[in-house]
């Protein structure tokens, strides 16, 4: 018999008064996969994550985590989850090491076990040399790694990461991704939210794109690109602005004029460029690149700024 | 326009040794502006008045009913009459200190208000004077209200109140200046525990609740060296009596405090921020 998915949501809804943050979503996450929630700010990702981490009760719909009901069995479920919240909530008055041991005790680990786990995890997130130090002087990337170590302290079956690399510099992000990849290889199920497309492509086996509280697309990064974009994208800039867009009608599969440049979605980028030149247009710059999840995302959720 | 302003600045520099009343006023104006930020700061400000008043009612009136009379300058007075001027001096002290320690430290370390101010023509000594003036405004607001209460309760005469009011300004100035100097040395919030404990110790043992003559001699000598003692004696002498040449000594002590505090504070602010 196939194992029940670790997380199952059916018609899940979260309302705050009049405002509907999550508007009936269906999701299932299998053991061992890395699952992503993608979407602009306010899409309902964090509300969904809070329901999954059993700190916010669903308004309607069904939600089962590890085969249990998050409202009734919240304590038991939380004992088997690891949570890395969007806002750091490390204990700044405790040392790095004490942050882990104190947190471990919340899960009922013995003091000796807590110390052992803390030592191991600090090695894993490469902070062993900071064990005795304070939290405050750590860099943003180090704090996030410490938070991830803390989320691992109870050896959880699922780790929830809410925008794990927001606000980090590129080196810190890559180190973090590498550590998360190691976790995945150990068989830990990862559920993360992000609005970085490169992060989703790096980490997620499967993802859903959310917009306005609903799921607008679902699949692996590769599937989504295949479905909602073309293999290649040509970015064209024109000295005289984007007026040239009208003359691009029919080039490639789709033309998307932006204020500063024009995107041409095409199966074959070079062929599209050749067609542009054939029509006598002279763009000031031409860039042919592979289509990314960002193209899918912008196509699905629109280009207006959400904030 | 620029030349006119520059010329004006040069003239003022000559007249006031470089301190510009306009720039001091700008620092002061920032604090007045903060009052408009919302009811929280207002309420905190206003509530500060009640603390010494509550002590006056509890210890002065409540315990006073058990005490009877206490000698002041050889003349027995009601215990509440004895305690009231001390609480007046305390309200001047704590009003000025709250502003120049807690708030100045916050602006210094966290809000970084002064970094922004010093990026303008405003100089450290002008920041110090501006903050001190504001502390004085807060202090006088407390002492004025407190004096009204004292007169209403019959704890001093109208004449006594008029005489004591300027003295409370001196008390506020002295503690405000020293408080500002101290706040430039504070390392973090944990030092405030130390500061509060020190302030509270002064509050309990400066001839506030019982005459210093009752203390053991060694203790009495130590107390006569501490600042709140002089503030209490000065204010009590003016509000209740007896007036004597000793009042000049007390006032002199406070003047020295004010000048020294201001000098240290402006030097330290400059040293810490203009690096």
């Amino acid at each position: 018999m196939a194992e029940e998915p670790l997380i199952v949501a059916r018609g899940l809804v979260k309302r705050f008064g009049e405002f509907t943050a999550v508007d009936g979503i269906d999701v299932s996450v299998e053991r061992g996969e890395a699952f992503g929630f993608l979407g602009p700010n306010g899409a309902g990702k964090s509300s969904t994550m809070r329901m999954i981490s059993c700190v916010s009760a669903p308004t309607a719909g069904e939600l089962r985590i590890l085969g249990m009901d998050p409202v009734r069995d919240g304590v038991a479920i939380r004992g088997r989850l690891g949570v890395c919240p969007q806002l750091d909530n490390l204990d700044t008055d405790l040392s790095v090491f004490e942050n882990l041991t104190t947190y471990a005790r919340y899960f009922g680990l013995s003091r000796a076990e807590a110390r052992r786990r803390a030592g191991e995890l600090l090695e894993f997130v490469q902070l062993a040399d900071r064990a005795k130090g304070k939290v405050e002087p750590l860099s943003g990337g180090m704090k996030r790694r410490l938070t991830i170590a803390r989320a691992m302290v109870n050896d959880p079956e699922i780790v929830l990461l809410d925008e794990p690399t927001t606000g980090l510099d590129p080196q810190a992000r890559h180190l973090l991704w590498e550590r998360l990849y190691q976790l995945k290889r150990r068989g830990v199920t990862l559920v993360l939210t992000t609005h970085y497309m490169d992060e989703a492509e790096q980490l997620c086996d499967r993802l859903v794109v959310m917009d306005g509280g609903r799921i607008v697309a679902e699949g692996s990064p590769r599937e989504l690109i295949a479905r909602y974009s073309t293999p290649e994208v040509v970015e064209l800039r024109f000295a005289g602005g984007a007026d040239a867009a009208v003359k691009l009608d029919g080039v490639g599969e789709r033309v998307d004029p932006l204020p500063d440049r024009v995107l041409v979605y095409a199966r074959d980028g070079d062929a599209a460029v050749a067609e542009v030149h054939r029509r006598g247009l002279a763009p000031s710059s031409v860039l042919v690149r592979r289509s990314t999840l960002e193209d899918v995302f912008l196509h699905l959720t629109g280009r207006t700024l959400v904030d | 326009m620029m030349t006119v302003m520059a010329a004006g600045r040069a003239v003022r520099r000559g007249l006031f040794g470089g301190v510009s009343a306009g720039r001091v006023g700008a620092v002061l104006g920032r604090n007045v502006g903060a009052l408009r930020s919302g009811p929280a700061y207002w309420l905190v400000l206003l509530s500060g008045f009640f603390e010494p008043l509550l002590y006056l009612l509890s210890i002065g009136v409540g315990v006073g009913a058990l005490v009877g009379a206490v000698p002041v300058g050889g003349r027995p007075v009601d215990y509440a009459v004895f305690v009231a001027p001390a609480m007046l001096a305390v309200s001047a002290m704590s009003g000025a200190l709250a502003e120049t320690t807690f708030n100045v430290f916050f602006k210094f370390k966290y809000a970084r208000t002064y970094d922004a101010v010093l990026a303008t023509p405003v100089r450290p000594v002008e920041i110090a004077l501006g903050e001190l003036t504001w502390a004085l405004v807060r202090c006088l607001f407390y002492t004025l209200m407190f004096l009204v209460v004292m007169v209403v309760l019959g704890l001093t005469s109208a004449g006594g109140a008029l005489a004591a009011f300027p003295a409370t300004a001196l008390v506020g100035l002295a503690f405000g200046a020293v408080g500002m100097a101290i706040s430039t040395f504070l390392r973090g919030w944990q030092d405030f525990d130390l500061l509060t404990t020190g302030q509270f110790t002064l509050f309990l043992f400066s001839g506030t609740f019982s005459p210093v003559q009752d203390y053991p001699v060694v203790f009495e000598v130590i107390v006569t060296l501490t600042p709140l003692y002089h503030a209490v004696e000065l204010v009590r002498g003016l509000a209740v009596g007896p007036a004597g040449w000793m009042l000049l000594v007390h006032a002199g002590y406070l003047v020295v405090m004010a000048v020294a505090g201001l000098w240290v504070a402006s030097r330290r602010i400059g040293k810490l921020l203009l690096v």
């Binding site: 204990d91 947190y103 009922g108 | 058990l66 525990d193 609740f209």
Partner: protein
């Protein structure tokens, strides 16, 4: 199940003890030195003019009051900025919320750590006032327990208050309009009977007055003004109502 029940409460208690270890000296100063200074200034200094009060010296009369009010002030101090801070700045409660720790564990653990702190403090204070000749009865040994009851009865409602505010400016109001008036008018320094009737009513309602009178009955070896069970019942009522208020406040703040 690991982490549930008593374990989680103990884990929360340990967290606060770990924090407390860092602040031990600073807080020992305010929770021990200040009451002794108070006793010297008011008890000895002012006491010299008071003479006897109901057959005991004024110092002996205020010892139990200062003791109970120190416990009360610690309870308020530890449940204002630290509680708001764990909601707003360090978000410590949010971190706990993601674990098997329940709201009840958070509240109980934090209150228990104050009980653990107040007991030895009260014992040390008793020993010091014993040297001053401040105690008159063997019943004095129960005063640490009374102090613990005062701590619980006052800490819980303040936790509920701290869980509901967002601006720490309100603490200045709590201190000046609740804590300081209670310390000054709830029978610590002079008998409540001297107060106007309305103020007496307020004093009777306050948890501190019941603690003061129970401590005073114990150190002087006399009967308290109300039956013991009535004083205890008032402290229990504050504990139950405060506990409910705190739990609801925490639940609301964490369930956004």
């Amino acid at each position: 199940m690991a982490g549930s029940g008593v374990h989680a409460t103990v884990a929360v208690l340990e967290r606060h003890l770990t924090l407390y270890r860092r602040l031990f000296w600073a807080s020992a100063m305010s929770s021990f030195l200040l009451p002794v200074l108070f006793l010297v200034s008011i008890g000895l200094g002012v006491g010299g003019y008071v003479g006897d009060l109901g057959g005991v010296s004024y110092l002996q009369w205020i010892v139990p009051g200062v003791m109970a009010s120190t416990a009360f002030q610690m309870a308020v101090g530890e449940t204002t900025y630290p509680v708001l801070g764990d909601f707003k700045w360090t978000r410590g409660y949010h971190a706990m919320r993601a674990t098997p720790v329940r709201i009840g564990d958070m509240v109980a653990g934090q209150v228990l750590v104050m009980v653990v702190r107040v007991l030895p403090q009260a014992v040390v204070f008793l020993l010091v006032v014993l040297l001053f000749g401040g105690l008159r009865s063997w019943w004095s040994v129960v005063t640490p327990l009374v102090c613990a009851a005062v701590v619980v009865a006052s800490a819980l409602p303040v936790m509920g208050f701290s869980a509901r505010i967002d601006n720490d400016g309100y603490f200045a109001l709590l201190f000046r309009f609740v804590m300081i008036p209670m310390t000054l008018f709830a029978g610590v320094f002079f008998p409540v009977a001297q107060l106007p009737v309305v103020a007496q009513w307020l004093a009777w309602v306050s948890p501190l007055w019941h603690g003061v009178e129970l401590c005073r009955a114990a150190t002087l070896g006399v009967a308290p003004p109300w039956p013991v069970w009535a004083h205890v019942a008032c402290l229990v009522a504050w504990t139950v109502a405060g506990g409910w208020f705190a739990m609801r406040g925490f639940a609301r703040r964490l369930a956004v």
